[in-house]
Amino acid sequence: MEKDIKFFIDGKRIDGRAKDELRPIKIEVGVLKRADGSSYIEWGGNKIFCAVYGPREAYPRFLQKSDRAILKCRYNMASFAVEERKRPGPSRRGVEIGKVTQGALEPALILENFPKCMVEVNIEVIQASAGTRCAGITAASVALANAGIPMKELVPACAAGKVDDQIVLDLCKEEDNYGQADLPLALLPRKNEFSLLQMDGDLSEEQLEEALDLGRKGCLEVFEIQKQALKKKYITEDVLNE
């Protein structure tokens, strides 16, 4: 798996970032008209749409919960999103990411107000370049807020990892493919708890601690961008000049 790549040149990473620097992030809110809430995120080379529908009646019926709504997440990657054509349709990876997304978002939502209902989150990856699940969760939580679903807090997500025995934030594609470890995180900022923690590769205990601290810092940066994106849509001048 490992390849001869120089991950660090003059103390900077392949794409010129510092160790604790995120790739540029841009979030737009309310981009899809048919959806109840939607968002579009550009995170480095990732381009992801997210649409939220609901709360609406849950189908199939046996999934309905009589005391609260259920959350359904679907993650899909377009066949043209990666370098080599991805076989379209559901895959093992897609189902897994859908499941972890649901787990990451559910503790932040207040679903008790809508018994027997369902909230659907659709994450559609148009272009992928490492860290799509984190970008997807970030976009999904913005879209949920845009849909007016009551939430305890927004959920920012961000990855940390290890390349060349050094802990770095937000892996880029080369670092993800040929690096030593990848650690996607989703944070509940107010509770200061993680709702997503996966690990691909090896990390020692100290390295894990270091990666978690770095990841938390990255998540909080993403959190600010999420808040700004939501507010931006309603700032007076922008709407009136349209």
């Binding site: 027997k116 209902c117 807020a145 007016g148 939430m151 305890k152 107010r190 939501l230």
Partner: protein, 226 residues
């Protein structure tokens, strides 16, 4: 006791609004002694009370609300109405009309696609919505058209003491009925209907910006002089 945000500012979910024992209405969540916004909305702070009016979201049915719905299904003795809420509304034949001669074919009374102005009689424990349309203003809306907006912005269409709706009615001579669920029914001359529809969609878009009535008045004046 301190406020961490300004009155009438936009808050995002999870933002801390105040610390201390405040009264709170809706749109907020309490966590230990802090009050936290639970929706994307605008904060209103009045006499130690806090509420957050959501900017987005579906209609939440309340008892006594007047709503406008579309018939989407016919059952043996009732109709299912889509009222923009998470759940379908149920209009039983007993609550629909004053006199019922023939219950053999409900389609003769209300067809699928008919627009009905109804009142919410009850919201059950399992959120089933019981409607009624017996008395005078309620019932089937003939002709006209329905404009859909966000339920959270209905108060802006009505305006302070009905100022906005009065303005629209006076200037365009249209009949307008506003449902609390965000469905608005308009009937009048066709061109006037177009103008009202555009105005209402503009209200929907700019609901959170002050000076709305004046802006709409200006737009109506320019459109009518054309």
């Amino acid at each position: 006791m301190e406020f961490l945000v300004k009155d009438r500012s936009i808050v995002t979910p999870g933002m801390v609004i105040a610390k201390g024992p405040f009264k709170y209405e809706y749109g907020v969540d309490k966590f230990e002694d802090t009050i936290i916004s639970s929706v994307l909305g605008i904060v209103y702070i009045e006499n130690d009370g806090i509420k957050v009016v959501p900017l987005e979201g579906k209609y939440l049915p309340k008892r006594g609300d007047d709503v406008i719905g579309t018939v989407v299904g016919i059952n043996p003795l009732s109709w299912d109405l889509d009222i923009n809420a998470p759940y379908l509304g149920n209009l039983h034949i007993q609550d629909a009309l004053r006199y019922v001669k023939d219950t053999s074919n409900l389609e003769r009374i209300f067809k699928v696609g008919d627009v009905i102005y109804a009142n919410i009689k009850e919201v059950g424990e399992a959120s089933e919505i019981v409607l009624q349309s017996k008395e005078r203003p309620y019932g089937k809306m003939k002709w006209g058209r329905v404009v859909k907006i966000h339920a959270t912005r209905v108060p802006r269409v009505i305006g302070k003491k009905g100022s906005m709706i009065k303005l629209l009615k006076q200037m365009t001579k249209c009949e307008i009925t506003v449902g609390q669920n965000g469905n608005i029914w308009i009937k009048g001359e066709r061109q006037m209907e177009d103008i009202v529809e555009r105005a209402i969609l503009k209200i929907d878009k700019e609901a959170h910006i002050p000076g709305l009535t004046d802006r709409i008045k200006k737009i109506l004046e320019t459109e009518l002089s054309r």
